[in-house]
Amino acid sequence: MSATATKPNPKQYKSSQEVRWCPGCGDYSILTQLLKTFADLGVKKENTVIVSGIGCSSRFPYYVDCYGFHSIHGRAPAVATGVKVANPDLDVWVITGDGDGLSIGGNHLIHTIRRNVGLKIILFNNKIYGLTKGQYSPTSEFGKKTKSSPFGAIDHPIHPISIAIGAEVTFVARCVDVDGKLMQQVFRRAAEHKGTAFIEVYQDCNVYNHGSFAYASDRKVRDDHLVYLEHGKPMIFGKEKNKGIRLNGTEPEIVELGKGITPDDLLIHDERAPSPTHAYLLSRMHYPEMPEPVGIFRDIELPTYEQLLHSQIHDVIEQRGKGELEKLFTSGDTWKVD
């Protein structure tokens, strides 16, 4: 990735393919922001690969003028791992959905995260299976009525960020589809992060689950329902910036600022906390009981899988010399027949 003198136009990163999402779909905004981020960073198209699974969201690669791989359902992280290990110089992004990434693909996601493969994973969470026309997904609310749960879903939902932290992710963030500014910031930081960056984007499925994230996207109310994470800053939120999050034992609680409570009493956000417990705690803050954190929960450094793999190869070559077939063939006991 290298910045160029004059920044390219985001449009230059658009492919010639027509975008095929429903009108009003939150996916559009995410696409726009990633293109802007690419332009902003001046990334080289030819060094960028976007790998996706299957789902509405996973059509994403077709719309970007870089290398793209629309793979099979749930397996994008595995395909992307192969790409990144084969050529660590590539910037590899993974696009997945709540069904693709957390239902059928949950295991690959976890293992990619724990290996800290240098992939930027964007999970479009619309709490529904869009492409298959509206079944509940692992993130759908308990009791949600959908085509496959006409009497209400009985599965307790999974929380993507909690799962990612359970798998010890090195970078994890959350955005809302309508908040382009935050998305760009987060995408940019993800691009800069060396290991696995996992980003959950709340995405409106206009057709099968419209308004599921209204509390977080509606301008009128969202400031009371979200808390913007800023490293080193106390956790203040609310339209009037008059509320804050304080620690009570290991649990966060909402407090009103003023009346003896000052920002100093609040929980200070620490992206770089060596232990993931802080980030985990944040991931447990759910609407409506609590404001939901958006922004970067965690960003720590840890050697990446591809670095370790290549440096191990490097070390072995240092020790043994570059492999020679002759030597390989005749290693072990040999004998000669004349």
């Binding site: 030819e46 790998v51 290398y67 791989f69 192969g82 084969a86 070559i317 077939l325």
Partner: protein, 624 residues
Amino acid sequence: MSTATKKDKQTKAEARKRSEELMHAAILFAGDSGDGMQLAGTQFTNASAVFGNDVSTFPDYPAEIRAPAGTLGGVSGFQIHFAHQKIHTPGDRLDALVAMNPAALKVNLKNLKEGGVLIVNSDEFTKANLARAKFDANPLESGELQPYRLYKVPITTHTLEAVKETGLPPKQASRCKNFYALGLVFWLYDRPLENTLRWIDTKFAKVPAVATANALALKAGYNFGDTAEIFDLRYKVLPAKLEPGIYRNMTGNQATALGLITAARLAGKPLFYGSYPITPASDVLHELSARKEFDVRVFQAEDEIAAMCSIIGAAYAGNVAATGTSGPGVALKQEAIGLAVITEVPCVVVNVQRGGPSTGLPTKTEQADLFQAIIGRNGECPLPVLAARSPADCFDAAIEAVRIAVKYMTPVMLLTDGYIGNGSEPWRVPDVGSLQPIKITHATDPETFQPYLRDEHGARPWAIPGTPGLQHRIGGLEKEHITGNVCYDPENHQKMTELRARKIENVVHDIPDQDVYGQSEGDLLLISWGGTFGAVRTATEDLVHDGRKVGHMHMRWLNPMPANVADILKRFKHLLVCELNMGQLQFVLQARYRVETLGLHKVQGKPFMVHEIAEKAEEILGGN
């Protein structure tokens, strides 16, 4: 005491000096899972190979790591066939059997020739062990071993004595008994000890007491043979007249690994190997993991699906990419293999077949994955399939698989099996300079590049990320001819389906014509594929030698099949397809060529015996 002791001592002493020359011999080390029989077998094999024999081996072990000591289920065996001539199998019947306990005797005695050498560890023939092996009476005393040359040796006792000086605790000391047994057999077949002594030194360099103990046990066994008066005969199997060259002994799994490394080198590429451990394929993973100096990128995936997907990604990004697994793992990979077929990404899937269905007989051999290789996926999803025929052949087959994959831009399935994967034979080290390079051209020209524009072989270009101006998108949806854009057009789907099929058929131009060994026309054509080669070839040799009008068509390529197969099939009165399954190649041949075939099917977790083939052939030939 042994039956031999009945003979006159004088005679025996003389006999001991006598040595009978044999053309070949098959021996089996059998004992409990914990008795180190695999090790003893491997050492004997290496010594014989280095000595210059042709060798062929068959390790056979239970699915448990260590089944309950002394039980029939816990018996582990290693069979070695070594010869003064070229051989193809580990031998039908045993010339000598080493049974370290009653269970090992029980399981294997039926394979010992009448009059064959039977060495037992008499220390282990206790009441409890006899019961565990389900013996009603002690066979050492019941007389039932009368037909064999039985040698009762208190191997445990001797071993403990021999290694006493090392001060190892008894439990550890008694672990050396495999080396004692090995020493004894070394003496019996007049093999030098040096090789194994050297190996012991290197292997146990960090635990000198163990090294010393093993060496002592080995020598003690040898010396017991030399000095004790129980043996009335000693054997010699002179070196074989193999093609001149440097040789080493190699298992099929090693050979596969080496073949993949070599192919990547020949292509001037790093090798990416994504795999998930599974018996009997894990040794390919182990071998490759130890070869990082060849820039082998080994990815131990979380499962077979991820393994397969990772190699698709790596191949897409320009590596030579392969995965290895066994039957159930292939089943899991099939959806992703379909992705490789439609995206036309080159890679190799190795299936070291084992007994099925389901978990089946995981440590045993079988050939029941031909169907799933050729046609076991959703949709019209053809890919090239070839099978290695022997341990050493895995090397060539792996290179061939890579060559076809990158030329035709397709996944290729390479079938081996537990028998040849774990079995070994001498491998003639090839001259590196003589190996044909694998030509790979990556697309680079943005002017002419079209992701699905086909070359004269029907292959699309391999354009790898990082190439400026070639940005394009591929995926599992049907794509438009030439442009590769997603396309739902009906005629395009028909066209692309046909183009994909035709491309695989084109591979026929890259594979040699099918050869037939023995008679090129006549009464009976024996047909085989994969690891059954050795048994069928040996049977054919014998039949042809006996003047029978018999030919042997061993098929390396299962999809596509060489162009002349139809023609060959017509030249024989009877066609007998010999397979370790219920007739899969038979089914495919009948479907393709509409010929009537006979089948010899065996699903017992074991390779064919030569005599099984020969008998079936004679039955068909009748008075012919």
